[in-house]
């Protein structure tokens, strides 16, 4: 179907099969190629266990929120509220701990429940009132920003944040693995199992693949879509909490920019291993590519403008290789 295949030689079936396999692994190859290049460019600072742990630690928050978003996009909806929601959650969790003196675990549980509630509201507006998810979640996100202002008057909550709360994200686990990484692995592992290995996961995939068919097959499409939003909302809450812990404060709009990062990760991931489908493992790889790109360019010390150019190019090239391979394989 690609015009590129028009020109000249025809591909043999073997070559096509090869290209098909290449397409599946192109983003992962891209990731490794990028790591290799940065390792050659900054051999002392980049390819160290310390730095890799560091990158994974940094990327964990984005991975958690992107993992949640993955469920929303698998069921065929966009959730634009996650960034704004995570900002609000960060403010509320610090508020509950600092002002209301709640024990940290209680505050965390309340905020995750609030995240689920926001997801429920999103899901209800989308499935029952049938508002397009772009408008619904943008609207809810805007409202949440208002709430964040109302709760904090826009002033970051800083004073009196207990050390124990900071340790939530700064602390380390067995073998010195940072807590953030542990939380991320648990969350993504749970999401992966849910989607790929349970019968609920089958329904989730079916709704996203063809909602009409899923409905005809007797799947409660609305329930599944709401579930997608709830998971997305809960992951946003987790990220908001960990971010507040990492920053040491609850700050309005601190997490807003996760929205674009999460989207980039999720869509990058859809080119990984599968043919343009969203999946949790892909999102993980997508987030890794973004994080290593940022880190490697930083460490190499590229001028600011070229950092942007490379970051943009990495996105396109990583997906482009895979897409091109696939379309040639299918030509």
């Amino acid at each position: 179907m690609s015009d590129i295949s028009v020109s000249g030689r025809r591909l043999t079936p073997q070559m096509k099969a090869g290209l098909g396999i290449f397409a599946r692994y192109a983003t992962i190859l891209g990731l490794f190629a990028m790591i290799l290049v940065f390792s050659l460019l900054s051999p002392k600072a980049f390819p160290t266990l310390g730095n890799f742990t560091n990158v994974l630690n940094q990327a964990s928050l984005a991975m958690i929120i992107a993992g949640g978003l993955t469920l929303a996009v698998i069921v065929g909806e966009l959730d634009l509220s996650i960034g704004f929601a995570a900002s609000l959650h960060g403010i509320i969790v610090t508020g509950l701990i600092v002002h209301d003196k709640l024990p940290i675990p209680v505050a965390v549980v309340i905020v995750v429940a609030l995240g689920a509630l926001i997801g429920l509201v999103n899901g209800f507006i989308v499935t029952k009132i049938k508002v397009n998810s772009v408008i619904a979640t943008l609207g809810v996100g805007t409202i949440l920003t208002g709430f964040a202002f109302a709760y904090s008057s826009g002033v970051p909550i800083v004073a009196g944040v207990p050390e124990a709360f900071l340790q939530l994200s700064l602390g380390r686990w067995l073998f010195g693995i940072p807590n953030n990484i542990v939380v991320m692995v648990v969350v993504l592992g749970a999401l992966w199992t849910l989607v790929e290995r349970t019968s609920l996961g089958q329904e989730i995939q079916a709704v996203g693949g063809n909602a009409a068919a899923a409905r005809l097959a007797g799947i409660d499409v609305d329930r599944i879509k709401i579930l997608g939003f709830v998971v997305s909302g809960m992951c946003a809450a987790l990220t908001g909490i960990l971010l507040a812990s990492r920053l040491g404060s609850g700050t309005a709009s601190a997490a807003d920019s996760y929205l674009l990062t999460a989207f980039a990760a999720v869509f990058l991931g859809s080119a990984t291993l599968r043919d343009g489908e969203f999946h949790v493992l892909g999102t993980f790889v997508g987030a890794l590519i973004i994080a290593f790109g940022f880190n490697g360019l930083n460490i190499f010390g590229a001028p600011t403008f070229s950092q942007y150019v490379f970051q943009g190019a990495i996105l396109i090239v990583a997906v482009g290789l895979s897409s091109l391979g696939r379309s040639l394989a299918e030509s």
Binding site: D3, V6, R10, S199, G209, L216, A217, G218, I219, S331
Partner: protein
């Protein structure tokens, strides 16, 4: 799961008390009264036929039973209890399963995942136990005729195989009623035969089958009783004894209909319009050659998966061949896209009208215009559309094809299946391409309209068009075509014309390869 577990052991007889009784059902969509007054009852273990012209309301009635639409008036009793089928889950819980006219499958999933769509699955520690499921499903899939491996993606499968998946799903659910809305429309003879055997087995073991089809011979062959819908009303109910095709046709159309219009064959020109030489795209199409003449209707028959659709796509530039060449009116022809093929003078009515033929959300007028945009504009400098020309074109086509629509501005997705098919064909009438390829042109088209479409195809040929018709229905080609190529496993195995052209010859040739092992 073995065969015996799918089918509940109870053996009912048609005299038992009805399983489902629907009375005076009415349903309107916007201004359109799809059902006016429909009553139907289904007995345990019977095969109940449902027939009627396109838009008569068959699918709507089925969607109401399935809980997808809700009636405006009337009542439904199941096992003697008045019920409201709230949604698809409720229908499944009541023991009904459905094979809807619109295909229900998820493109990104495997065959097995699609079969199990919405079916409760065994699990271990909350995780789905796929290997156990595969063991249970495999024999059923085989029995239905699914040849693809269960773990293959459904993306590369043909329409027919996707239908088989839907049928398989209905069997895997242990249902008391299986509703099939035109299941054979996409199947060829051998799959159909397999399906009939399954239906008879099901019936014997007490499962009720509601069977919708425009193929009246099937209905007569298979059904214990037949209900006829006309214009949103249930007008007749026949039992098998003494029912003839003639009676059925009269009841459907509301008047007599001469079905036996053998098309008049004009003296065929020897002028070759399209010459195809050794076109291949492995593994689906292997070195196919033929010539298509001006004024000729050339049929391509064969079994499902024989590679006919793929051949059409190659000619049309929708896919690229790995080898071979073509000429169009003597000039080398190598379209790099369908738009190039259309410019060169080709037209295609695709197999999948909803997915490949129509912009469902747009109006009839819009869809009819798509291949004719050049002729609909006025104004030299800015190509502004002329509403007058559009309306004229649409009115003419709607009339010519007797498309049943509320008006030319009705969204085409809301027409009944057969009428949607007519819109896709209608698009090319005005453009008058040199070569028109029709892939399953009468799929889902009612008996009256089918005759009209056949007549129309002959007229187009007579006016000088070269027509290529692909059909999986062996009955269709002998009447319609001057010449028929039979394909099997990607190759043309037989050319039939004149006296040798008959239903049986086509069916026989379809199995040629399988017998000989290697294609010619």
């Amino acid at each position: 799961m073995t065969d015996t577990t799918i089918i509940s052991p109870m053996t009912g007889t048609p005299t038992a008390s009805p399983f489902i009784v629907a009375r005076h059902i009415a349903k309107a969509f916007g201004g359109a009264q799809a059902l006016k007054d429909v009553s139907i009852d289904l007995l345990p273990g019977e095969v109940h036929g449902l027939v009627g012209a396109n838009g008569a309301g068959k699918s709507t009635m089925i969607r109401i039973l399935a809980g997808l639409n809700h009636p405006d008036a009337g009542s439904i009793e199941i096992d003697g209890q008045t019920t409201n089928v709230a949604n698809a889950q409720a229908a499944a819980a009541m023991g009904m399963s459905f094979i809807h006219q619109e295909l229900a499958f998820v493109p990104g999933m495997t065959v097995l995942q699609n079969i199990m769509l919405g079916v409760p699955k065994p699990s271990r520690l909350g995780l789905t136990d796929w290997s156990a499921i595969a063991r249970e499903v495999a024999p059923i899939a085989k029995r239905v005729g699914i040849t693809a491996p269960l773990n293959a993606s459904v993306k590369g499968l043909s329409t027919a195989e996707n239908w088989l998946i839907n049928i398989c799903r209905a069997l895997v659910r242990k249902s008391r009623l299986i509703v099939m809305d035109e299941p054979t429309a996409s199947l060829s003879a051998s799959e159909s035969e397999k399906l009939f055997t399954i239906i008879r087995d099901l019936s014997r073991s007490g499962v009720t089958v509601l069977y919708v089809s425009h193929r009246l011979d099937e209905i007569l062959d298979l059904c214990d009783r037949v209900s006829v819908f006309r214009d949103g009303r249930s007008v007749d109910e026949f039992s098998r004894a003494g029912l003839t095709r003639q009676k059925l046709v009269e009841s459907i159309v509301g008047k007599g209909l001469d079905e036996t219009v053998k098309p008049v064959r004009a003296e065929m020109s020897r002028e070759v319009v399209l010459d195809v030489a050794d076109i291949s795209r492995l593994p689906r199409v292997k070195s196919v050659s033929f010539a298509l003449h001006r004024g000729e209707v050339l049929g391509i028959g064969g079994l499902v998966g024989a590679g006919r659709t793929e051949l059409a796509r190659l000619i049309y530039g929708a896919d690229r061949p790995d080898g071979g060449s073509m000429t169009l009116s003597g000039k080398a022809f190598r379209p790099k896209s369908p738009s190039a093929a259309v410019k060169a003078g080709l037209g295609l009515v695709p197999e999948e009208r909803r997915a490949e033929g129509l912009v469902l959300s747009k109006s009839v007028l819009f869809n009819l215009g798509l291949a004719n945009l050049d002729s609909l504009v006025s104004g030299k400098f800015v190509p502004l559309l002329s509403r007058k020309r559009q309306a004229h074109m649409a009115t003419e086509t709607i009339k010519a094809l007797a498309i049943k629509t509320q008006g030319m501005d009705q969204p085409v997705g809301r027409l009944s299946g057969g009428n949607q098919q007519k819109v896709v064909i209608g698009r090319w009438l005005r453009r008058e391409p040199d070569v028109l390829i029709l892939d399953e042109p009468t799929r889902g088209v009612d008996i009256g309209a089918r005759g009209e479409i056949h007549k129309l195809i002959r007229q187009l040929a007579q006016s000088g068009m070269a027509v290529l018709v692909i059909s999986s229905e062996p009955d269709e080609l002998p009447d319609l075509c001057d010449r028929v190529l039979v394909m099997a496993e990607g190759s043309v195995v037989r050319e039939l014309s004149g006296d040798k052209l008959s239903r049986n010859a086509i069916v026989e040739a379809s199995y040629e390869v399988t017998k000989q092992g290697v294609p010619a």
